[in-house]
Every structure is written in structure tokens, then in C-alpha cells.
């Protein structure tokens, strides 16, 4: 891997046409090994590309155990699958995508990027799971649990059983006792020193619907979703239709 890293770092400063192919496989390999991949797309080896490559390279050098990076010239036909997957021919370049091991895109930065932004794109496993759910157009119901044995709040269970939300929810469960999720708790503004679970609900693409205590009922969660306007239950669909009809 170190060899690969050095090779990529070297070619990032070489003319674009000389950048090696096979990056699709590299992204897949990185994912399999649980690493984040920064995929940098570029058109030409101009100043902006070189600046961005240096920033990514520097960041990867710092957190090399968890990340890797690849560069992709959008004109390279061999990279077509990756270009197509990120629609890179239609985005402002250079741009770098943060891709979690589960395939979730955890950040996209165009033309310039800094260390902090790249750092923010590295998520905990549960956080990336939640983002994957949101990117699949589902409502993320995140249960922040004190420990692995704590039961899922009844309100969340009730919401899952609500036929109006069938197939529309993505449940994520993170434990305070799991040190790898500490960053997730911090970013969700939840104190890990929990007595009881805390429920957070998000709607795609990234709207915070609310943070609830463990005692929240299924009805309250449903109401919060209805109120937020991000709900897609039959009742909300009816209301929206009526509202658009009035307009």
C-alpha cells in the first residue's frame, strides 16, 4: 500500500496524461480494507490541480492508516466507470470526493480543499452508515445508546411498524461505549455520558428533523416528521397535493 501511495503521490505532479489507470479497482480495494478514499478528478495538470493534489497528499500522509487517494483524469477512457459514477465530466474540476468504505460520499470539494474539510469527510462507521441511508433517499433514525445492551426506544420501534413509513426509514444504532463512535456523538451534539438512549431523526439530503429523548412515542416522531415537511407518508402526500392544488 505504501508503494501505491508513493506511486500516486509521484504521478500527481506529473503531466495528467501519464496518470495510471485502474483506479476503480483501487477504490474497491481500499473499501474492502476499511479505508476512506479521496478520489480526485481533474482535467489538466494545472495549478489548481496541483494545489489540490498537494493538499490531499498532505492530509493522506497524516492519516495514512485510514485513508488513501486516487487521481482520475476525466478524459481517460479507462476511467470511464469512475467518471460516470461521480458524473465527473459535469462537475467543476478539479474536485475531490471523500468516499467511505461503505460507498457513501462523505464530502465533495471543488477547485480547492483544506485539511479541515478533508478531515471532516472521515466519518465513524455508524455516521457513514447514516449518510449512506440518507443518500439512499431514506429517513435516518439514529439511536444513540448508552451501551450495546440498551433496548431500542419503543417510539422508534413504533415508527418502524407504522405502515406509512414502511421502507422509508434507515435505522442506525451507535453506542456511547464504543470509542470508535465518540466522534459521531460529538458531531451529533450528544453527550456520550448517557443514562438513556437519545433519538435523532434526519431527512435526506441532510436535514435535522429533531433530537428526542428515549421516552418519545412513535406518534410524536411521526408528527415531527409531518411537521418538518420531509415526511412522505400518505397523509403528507395528500396535504402537499392539496397545497399545490390551492396554489
Amino acid at each position: 500500500m505504501r508503494y501505491l501511495f508513493c506511486l500516486i503521490a509521484a504521478v500527481s505532479f506529473a503531466p495528467a496524461s501519464s496518470i495510471i489507470a485502474g483506479t476503480t479497482e483501487q477504490v474497491e480495494t481500499a473499501a474492502e480494507s476499511g479505508k476512506y478514499t479521496y478520489v480526485m478528478f481533474y482535467r489538466s495538470n494545472d495549478d489548481a490541480t496541483q494545489r489540490m493534489a498537494r493538499a490531499v497528499q498532505s492530509h493522506v500522509a497524516e492519516v495514512g492508516d485510514r485513508t488513501t487517494w486516487v487521481t482520475v483524469n476525466v478524459h481517460d477512457r479507462r476511467e470511464a466507470p469512475l467518471v460516470k459514477r461521480f458524473d465527473a465530466s459535469r462537475i467543476p474540476l478539479p474536485a475531490v470526493f471523500g468516499v467511505a468504505p461503505n460507498g457513501a460520499v462523505t464530502g465533495v470539494f471543488r477547485e480547492k480543499v483544506n485539511e479541515e474539510q478533508l478531515h471532516m469527510a472521515i466519518l465513524t462507521p455508524m455516521y457513514s452508515d447514516m449518510v449512506k441511508g440518507l443518500q439512499s433517499q431514506r429517513i435516518a433514525v439514529v439511536c444513540m445508546m448508552p451501551d450495546a445492551d440498551a433496548p431500542i426506544p419503543t417510539g422508534v420501534k413504533a415508527l418502524q411498524q407504522n405502515p406509512a413509513f414502511e421502507g422509508k426509514l434507515h435505522q442506525v444504532r451507535a453506542c456511547a461505549s464504543d470509542s470508535s463512535e465518540a466522534e459521531f456523538f460529538r458531531r451529533m451534539h450528544v453527550d456520550p455520558d448517557l443514562d438513556a438512549p437519545v433519538v435523532l431523526v434526519f431527512a435526506p439530503p441532510g436535514t435535522h428533523v429533531g433530537t428526542f429523548e428515549a421516552t418519545v412515542s412513535g406518534q410524536e416522531l411521526a408528527q415531527a416528521l409531518h411537521r418538518s415537511g420531509k415526511c412522505n407518508c400518505s397523509k403528507c402526500q395528500r396535504n402537499r397535493r392539496a397545497a399545490s392544488g390551492k396554489r
Partner: protein, 468 residues
């Protein structure tokens, strides 16, 4: 009305021809002139001969005797009124069209290639210049406050079933959802209060919900929202007029630029140029037309007018090579053009009314001079000077009124004919212009004929004698 008169009218109109077995005969061209004469005689019969003559019917009878005299004046008045009614009706329709666009369409900002001037919202993609499609992503990724939806478009000329039309590439909402979801983490951070990215505009509902609802997935909603939620790469949407003229139905497959596209739906009529277009996925259109990732225009739906105002500056900064205009600006341009046309139409109307007035005055003076002995005789027989002047004024009113009605008819016909052709708007009647035109025609006729009427009233009745 006596039965014989009624029948006379129907006969004249060609619907009561006394032929066995033919209740209503269709007019043939040969008899059109004959029928016109008959209609004229029937009117005369109704006004004058069928019932005992009245003082008023003298006017009609005299006009019938000398129709050419009044014709020039009548024609000028008619032209003036028709110019006013036609232009005003088109302007009214154009304004209604703009208003309805404002109301119906979400877009309030257009991003155009540099150097494109635009006066019609619906022609925003018909200038032949292009922008890179990456501008769309650039706007999206910039997470500008107040941007709710984006609608890039690329139009290329195509033939469908032998008919020339436009193939317009549009990007379904799902494409945007996919891209904006790349920023989920940023948005979450923003929503949880850590960053300024993805801020909502105060008073707006925030960015669009990314959950597909039934109202969003209805393909027909494009007609009003200009956005489709989902669109298959091999699907096409057909405008109402094109579907009608080419007999295209939903589910059918059509051949465009060598590809077979399945008609996913026929859009409801909007009264705009969209009715004659084929819509398909933008990327499919780019591929078929081999244009590369470009667009002709990007429509931006700001969450409200206020946000749209603020967005212009940010978009200008974000896309220095593009031209950013608000719909309000386009509307303003259109309103300015309309106002100019409006003023021009009144100037033309005024000039023609002046000429018409002068013509009426001249015709009436000549008429009075020609009828000296007749008018003198009327006075000798007991007509008062005011009766004589009333005869002249009534004739002038008839010229004004008939001219006004003819002008109104001509103007409306012209407006209905040229409105949709030239400006692409469905014409509706400008009641104001009709009323103003009619009142002005009548007033001008009366004012212009007042001096000759006065002259007639002061005629020496002794003119009726042989020695005079």
C-alpha cells in the same frame, strides 16, 4: 317583424333558400356579392321600407346612396381602431402571459451564456449559445442560500414524424438529489449548527425535500413546475400540440436523431412553445446531438423573490463567464417593450384618428355642399336647423360606429392571427382598447362633423327655390 321581412333576412343570409329539400344551403362563392347586396337591401327594408320611414332612417338611406363618400373616412377610422385593438390585445395577452408565467413557473433566475439578450422566458434556450453543464453542479455544490431547484436545458432542432421541432434536454430532480446528497455531511453539520453551509433563507421553507412524493413524480407536473422528478434515459415527454399534430400517444416509441425513445407522457397544454417540443433526459440529448456536457440555459428556482434578488450577485460571482438575469428583469424588459408598443399604438391610433377626423370633416363638408338644395327643402318642409345638423351628426356617428366596429373586427382578427405567430402568446381581447377605440372613433366622428353640421344648420333655406 312581419314574416316576409324575417324570411327576407334569412334569404339574404342564405339559410332560408326556397329550394325543396334544402333547409339550409351553403353559400357558394358565386353568390357572395349578390348576397351582400341582398343583406344590404334587407337592412334597408328593416330600417326603412318594411316599416314606415322615420327621420333617422334618412341617414341610412342617404349613406346607401353615396357609399363611396363615407368609405374612405370609414376605412381610416377602421384602420386606427384596428391598430389600437390589435396591438393592445397582443400586449394584454403578452402581459397576461408574463403574469401567468410568474405565477406558474418556479424559476425566477436565468443563467445564460454571455452576450445572450433575452426578452421571452420561453425562448431562453433558443439562442444557439451554450454553457458548460458543470455550472449546474457548481451552483449546487456552492449551497447558495435560497436555491431550491435548478433546471438546465439544452435544445437541438430535430424532426419528429417529418415535422420540424425542438428536442429539449432536461435534468430530472433525481440527478440533483444524487449530487446534493454528496454533501449530506456538510448539510448535517450545518443543520446541527456548526457551519454556514446550507443555510436556509429566512422566511423560506428551506431546500427541497428529497423524498419523492406523488405530486412530484407526476410527469404532467412539468407543465407548471418545469421540473420532472425522474426521467429514464430512453424516455421522452411530448408537448400537447406536437402530440396532437403527429398523433403521438403515451407508450408509443418515436425515432429521434437515430434513437428510439419511448413516450413517457404527453404534457398538458401550456399555451407556450413547450407545447410543440419533445423533452428528454439532458444527458441523452447531449449524447444524441453529440454536443458534450453543455446546456443553453440554467433556470434557477430561488425559494422566494427576495432570495432571488440576493442570489444574482452570488451567482454572478460564482459564474463570471455567464449572464445572470432575474425573471423580474425579463418581465421588466417585456413590460418596457409592451409600454413602448402601447405608446406607439396610441400614437398610430391618434394619427389615424386625426386623419380620419379630417377625412370625416372633409367628407361631411362636401356632403353638406352637395345636399344644399335637399337640406334647404327639408327646412322649407319644416325641419328645424337642429334637425338638419342632427342628420349630419348622425351620419358621422354611423361612419364612426361602423368604422369602429369594422376596426374592432379587423384588429381582433389581426391580433388572433399574429399574436400566436409572432409572439407565441394566445391572444385575448383587450376590452379597454375596444372601449377606447369605439368611444374615440365615435367622438372623433362627432367632433369632426360638428363644423359641417353647424354649416348645414345655418344653410339658407331659400336655396330650395329655383332662383336661389
Amino acid at each position: 317583424m312581419p314574416k316576409e321581412q324575417t324570411c327576407g333576412i334569412w334569404k339574404a343570409l342564405g339559410t332560408c333558400w326556397n329550394e325543396p329539400g334544402t333547409g339550409s344551403r351553403i353559400l357558394d362563392t358565386k353568390s357572395v356579392l349578390t348576397r351582400l347586396v341582398m343583406v344590404s337591401r334587407t337592412i334597408e327594408m328593416v330600417l326603412g321600407e318594411g316599416v314606415p320611414m322615420s327621420f333617422h332612417s334618412l341617414v341610412w338611406k342617404e349613406m346607401r346612396r353615396r357609399p363611396v363618400h363615407s368609405l374612405t373616412a370609414l376605412l381610416i377610422v377602421a384602420l386606427g381602431v384596428s391598430a389600437l385593438v390589435a396591438v393592445e390585445s397582443v400586449i394584454t395577452s403578452s402581459e397576461q402571459n408574463v403574469a401567468s408565467q410568474m405565477q406558474q413557473l418556479g424559476a425566477n433566475i436565468l443563467i445564460l451564456p454571455e452576450g445572450v439578450t433575452l426578452q421571452d422566458y420561453h425562448a431562453a434556450d433558443a439562442h444557439g449559445k451554450s454553457l458548460p453543464e458543470e455550472y449546474v453542479t457548481r451552483i449546487m455544490l456552492a449551497q447558495l442560500v435560497g436555491v431550491e431547484e435548478l433546471a438546465p436545458k439544452l435544445s437541438v432542432p430535430v424532426e419528429v414524424g417529418g415535422a420540424s421541432t425542438m428536442l429539449t434536454g432536461i435534468l430530472p430532480r433525481t440527478e440533483f438529489y444524487k449530487k446534493s446528497a454528496w454533501q449530506s455531511v456538510d448539510l448535517l453539520t450545518a443543520d446541527l449548527g456548526e457551519s454556514a453551509v446550507g443555510r436556509k433563507h429566512e422566511g423560506c421553507g428551506g431546500r427541497s425535500c428529497q423524498i419523492a412524493t406523488a405530486d412530484k413524480t407526476d410527469i404532467g407536473s412539468y407543465a407548471t413546475t418545469r421540473i420532472v422528478h425522474e426521467l429514464d434515459m430512453n424516455a421522452a415527454l411530448i408537448g400537447a400540440d406536437l402530440a396532437k399534430s403527429q398523433h403521438i400517444k403515451q407508450g408509443q416509441t418515436i425515432q429521434i436523431l437515430g434513437a428510439r425513445l419511448k413516450v413517457a407522457g404527453v404534457l398538458p397544454a401550456t399555451g407556450t412553445s413547450d407545447d410543440g417540443r419533445v423533452l428528454a433526459h439532458l444527458h441523452r440529448v447531449q449524447e444524441l446531438a453529440d454536443t458534450g456536457p453543455i446546456v443553453n440555459v440554467i433556470e434557477v428556482m430561488g425559494c422566494c423573490e427576495e432570495a432571488a434578488g440576493g442570489l444574482v450577485g452570488e451567482l454572478d460571482e460564482l459564474l463570471p463567464d455567464a449572464r445572470v438575469v432575474t425573471i423580474a428583469h425579463i418581465v421588466q424588459t417585456q413590460v418596457t417593450v409592451n409600454r413602448l408598443m402601447n405608446q406607439l399604438s396610441y400614437v398610430i391610433f391618434g394619427i389615424l384618428m386625426l386623419i380620419g377626423g379630417a377625412s370625416i370633416a372633409s367628407v361631411m363638408f362636401a356632403n353638406v355642399a352637395e345636399r344644399k338644395r335637399e337640406l334647404g327643402t327639408l327646412m322649407a318642409l319644416g325641419a328645424t336647423p337642429s334637425m338638419v345638423s342632427r342628420l349630419i351628426l348622425m351620419k358621422a356617428s354611423a361612419v364612426g360606429l361602423i368604422g369602429g366596429i369594422c376596426g374592432m373586427g379587423l384588429g381582433l382578427a389581426a391580433a388572433f392571427a399574429i399574436g400566436p405567430q409572432l409572439l407565441g402568446v394566445a391572444t385575448s381581447v383587450s376590452l379597454n382598447a375596444v372601449i377606447i377605440g369605439m368611444i374615440a372613433a365615435l367622438t372623433v366622428a362627432l367632433v369632426a362633423s360638428y363644423p359641417p353640421a353647424r354649416k348645414a344648420a345655418h344653410l339658407d333655406p331659400c336655396l330650395c327655390f329655383q332662383d336661389a
